[in-house]
Amino acid sequence: MSEIANIEELKKLAPPAELRRAPVVEGNQGLGWLTDKLSAFAEAKVPLWWKIAFVPAAFAATVIFPICLFYQVFTGVGVWGNNHPDMWGWDIVNFIWWVGVAHAGTLISAMLFLTRQHWRTTIGRMAEAMTVFSVAMAGLYPAIHVGRAWFDWFMFPIPNSNGLWPQFKSPLMWDVFAVNTYLMVSSLFWFMGMIPDFAVLRDRSTTRVRKTIFSFLAMGWTGSAWQWHHYEKAYVVLCGLCTLLVFTVSSIVGLDFCTAQLAGWHATIFPLYFVIGAVFCGFGMMLVLLTSLRKLCHLENIITKSHIDKVAKLCLVSGLIINYIYLMEIFIAWYSGDPYERWVFGHRFFGHTYMVFGWMLIGINVCVTQLLWFKKIRSNLVALFIIGVLINIGMWSERFVIVVGSLYQDYLPANWGTYHPTTWDVGLYIGTLGAFFMLYLLFVKFLPMIAISEVKGATPQADPHHPLGGALKGDH
């Protein structure tokens, strides 16, 4: 180790503790240790907690989910609570909610990569997986909400014997493109990011079955400089494209609403509103997943408190933007002088039927979010877990307020009605939650849940210009 520069000398040059960046990985271990640590969970025996969590999730996904799905498809949308005037109910609420959960994943994995936030390497893969699985859940809802799911292919521009084409001027049509693109692109991104890590698991595999599976998945990755050269470029391009999707997909969902001439929906702020709401909700989900997986998978050195603190801060920022939008919405409703707008917004909080959701929105999204200002709360993982769950509930109720709150009492009092979800609404939601968690648990157990090569690349040991990376004195 004579070629390594004098560490003591470097320590004198280092900035004071409060100015130093938190290390991406704590403990300053070598690359070999990191590889062992990061692939340990995928290689170890299935732990007990995993089985305990998997059984109910798998039950919901493989029993409740198909029953509710088939019953609805065979019988019709009437099995849900949707009826005139509430043609959009839980199905659309849940659709927006799932799309929302997806967005923070893309924001973390793509946008933080473009801004060179090295700490995202440890949580990026988990965030991407969250995106892929939740978009899949989201995409399901509109597909069955149309009523006759076997005609879904009419939405794709396929030449058919009816000579019909989709009507491209409708935002609902744009949704088809947006959600499908989101699912495809985020899956591609997720898969491409995993190729070098599949190679790691391939090289470490001890059984023939594992070796074969991971050899196929790694596609012959050798890690040559040539491969990394193109891989990095493709990664940047995909990150850029995914960042565009963060802003596009929820905007288009927002357009579904704001092109309608309905008080409470017809507002230009809606695309932005939906994007930020989505990101906020997704950060909530991210807090839930990170705090629990960190503990359960023993990743305290990898997903450090500093990383979770940063996610909580991002959650706070998006929460504050959402609070501003709530304020703006109410202000504009008052300022517009439109009696219908004023009436709808007044009714959200002081009306009779669904005002509890309006207050949940204020109580959670506005009040609970403010707790994240405090460092004590941001470093308390139990508190963050609870806040994460609450944010998801709060954002769910926000979508309920928007969808049902505007529909159930519109311009014509003769047209008014109420909305009550049925067992099948609830069952389908539980089913999608189960499917999401089942897929997520499978991912955590069998795939590289942390980007092994990326985390290694973010350590000082990987920097050829750092003494720990083998730089000589005077090397730059």
Binding site: W165, F177, T181, A225, A234
Partner: protein, 179 residues
Amino acid sequence: MSEKVYGLMAEFDSPGALLRAAEKMGVSSYRKWDCFTPFPIHGLDKVMGYRNSLVGWVALAGGAFMFLNIVGLIWFANYFDYPVMVGGKPLFSPPMTFVPAYIMMIMGAAFGALLGMFGLNQLPRLHHPLLFKKRFESVSRDKFVIVIGANDEKFCVTETKKMLESLGAANVEIVEDQP
């Protein structure tokens, strides 16, 4: 030279050591060589003399192709083949095609980036002589490797081995070619 040899594999312990060796390799007369690392190494592209990757252009081509195709499709479907009048709006106007065309542009560009990366790297490849080498497995872990191919004009097992050792390689081994 024996037909059975794929090349020589030199192992280094740190990215810094690999980068210094690669710098020396770059000015040597060897041409068929490559570095293998567990993660991309800062500055290695420059040493290897790689120019900007073409993946970005493939992505651009994919994106542009999809964008124009969707604009064309909308014109064909809603204007030419089966005109549908909606709210007195023009049957076709470029701004109205933007959203679907833009979204599909992202799809096209993403496929372009991925397939471009696969194409330029010649992946998927299910067989590679290096992957049969037991010691090569540590490349995905914590070792940094330079391989000089036996198809290099200057390649000579003893001479090349000596040269690699002089670069500071911790271990130099012959890689057998696999049929």
